[in-house]
Subunit: 325 residues, 2 copies
DNA sequence: TAGGGTATTGTAAACGTTTACGTAAAGTGC
DNA sequence: GCACTTTACGTAAACGTTTACAATACCCTA
């Protein structure tokens, strides 16, 4: 059915080893005449390498497995674009394995699938595995790297924005705009969330602000809407939100109860995806460079020397009011 | 390094064939005693099957390849969730191959990768391949199915909403709300776009409306913003948009020039993703059931008998004004 | 006890490709 | 012309797993 190198060898009058060398481009091991003949016949037959056979023999493949989290935020496209582009430049293919949203079983299955496939590297995108799966990864001998997440453990590769810097910059910016009653909303209790709390509190302290206010959530729009209720009795003038979706949820729920953004409540959103342009008003954001994070994580997992942290920036839109001091 | 069935056989005192039978669960071909011993040793050794070896021998794998388009709209998550869940129920794994956004080279590479991997089926998600790639798929012997797109060719499997029905229902709804000057915005010239034009025009005709107005775009937010300029000199009271992103773009650009939605301009958006809840006002939508489309496409590619079309519904939010007749 | 049927296990080959090593031919330099 | 080096090619084995077929062991019944 599917042509093999045996078929090409038979038609070319050469051995399967020669066919293999030509198709693997082992320069200097075949003549131009032989090469031309083999390539012509391969094309005529519609030959395609059997990936399984190659991987079995080489015990390695030129494929990076990306394990993708179905996070309620929508930054994945930028990350994937960056990964795909850089991997292609380095001669690597990319397969994506889907891990659902905080579904330990799906995550475990995705990790095992990647390990079974002798991939050249594994990128875990905004995913925090439990200890058993982390051990599995470490013991596999396959390089892996966290993307848009880091664990504060040395020896574990990662590429991300600096979560402490994200929130401390947001605090700096809001203080600069005259705000002193600043909350942090929608983060969770995992590493990313705790790192952002650290930066938030350090930012408040640096400005001599002694009152902090933190509300947990799950990064989703619905979570944002619910969180607005919790802020109603509080005297905060500004909220830093854990994601664009949290911000959109707070924004819309606020407007529904007559709280105007930015006049009555200012918002600074973490991520800075296209959602920030869609809302009314547009959301001022601490914008992450997801494309570069993705791209750089490929270099990281391939063993190149790169910086862990990708810089963020403040993008001013319409959700922050300057207060009189 | 990685344990093989040879290692297990040596420790168990049985042949590799017996180990293989146990690990492949060939019931009735091994004793319970032998099974228990083999499974215990496999676990102690941390054994994992080598997927490449299995695929090489069986010439087939229990994996569905999903080729994913980076469409500017964001319905992928629902589709992927549906695919992943249904595939799991049917004992199939899923790998995702990324094809960029209308990038013929990336698409071709993704298709070739899927074919090289002896997958059990290929799902093409909102992707329209050129004739050469379509021929490649047909000649491969591997079943494939279009997801959220259909080509009007018999024998080619697909699962989608009915694009003619989408626009004709949108027209029906707007006419019911008193609108007669109705435009269609943001669709492209590919199959999906032309099918939606057909439904739009049939809907107008059915209501005796003789003036149609169609503006092409690329489903993106930026495209939507630009399109609003083209509508300024026209006397339309309502626009059906090709995607939620187009709608958001038109909505925001309109508000920036003093056109109020829905008072001055009504919008009905195709897709109905979470974006419709985020905008202000919320967008009335023809909502597609992406989860069910994904789920059903798995049944389709696995050879089960399913309906091609998944029903849509109108979700009323805040973007359509009822006009006086 | 002998015979028949079923369960259990082992041997050998297959799957498609890569590559180490050996051999032959061609090319280069003295 | 000879010796050495490089190019080109072939043979054989490897990779890890599956499975057809043969052999053996076990169980049940007459």
């Amino acid at each position: 059915m599917k042509p093999t190198i045996k078929d090409i060898a038979a038609r070319s009058g050469v051995s399967i080893a020669t066919v293999s060398r030509v198709l693997s481009q082992k320069t200097g091991t075949y003549s131009e005449k032989t090469q031309a003949k083999i390539l012509r016949i391969a094309k005529e037959l519609g030959y395609r390498k059997n990936t399984a056979a190659v991987e079995l023999v080489k015990k390695r493949s030129a494929v990076i497995a990306v394990i993708l989290n179905a996070t309620p935020t929508n930054f994945s496209t930028g990350v994937i674009d960056g990964i795909q582009k850089r991997a292609s430049e380095l001669g690597q293919g990319v397969i994506i394995l889907y891990a659902g949203n905080r579904d330990d079983q799906m995550l475990h299955k995705a990790i095992v699938t990647a390990l079974e496939r002798t991939v050249s590297g594994i990128l875990l995108t905004a995913i925090e595995p439990d200890d058993a799966d982390l051990t599995l990864l470490k013991d596999s001998g396959i390089p892996f790297c966290f993307v848009s997440l880091y664990l504060n453990q040395p020896k574990i590769l990662s590429v991300s924005s600096n979560n402490e810097s994200i929130t401390s910059q947001a605090v700096d910016y809001l203080v600069e705009q005259g705000h002193t009653a600043i909350a942090l909303a929608g983060i969770d209790g995992y590493h990313t969330g705790t790192q952002r709390i650290t930066g938030y509190e350090a930012g408040l302290k640096a400005h001599g602000i002694t009152t902090s206010c933190i509300k947990y959530g799950d990064y989703s729009y619905e979570s944002g809407r619910k969180l607005l209720q919790e802020f109603l009795p509080l005297k905060v003038t500004a909220i830093i939100t854990a994601s664009d979706m949290i911000a959109a949820g707070i924004l819309n729920a606020a407007q529904e109860v007559g709280i105007r953004v930015p006049e009555d409540l200012s918002l600074v959103s973490i991520d800075g995806t296209i959602i920030c342009n869609i809302t009314t008003p547009g959301l001022t954001s601490v914008t992450q460079d997801f494309y570069r994070i993705g791209s750089r994580s490929v270099d990281q997992v391939m063993g190149h020397d790169v910086e862990t942290f990708v810089p963020v920036k403040i993008d001013k839109r319409g959700s922050v009011k300057q207060l009189e001091k």
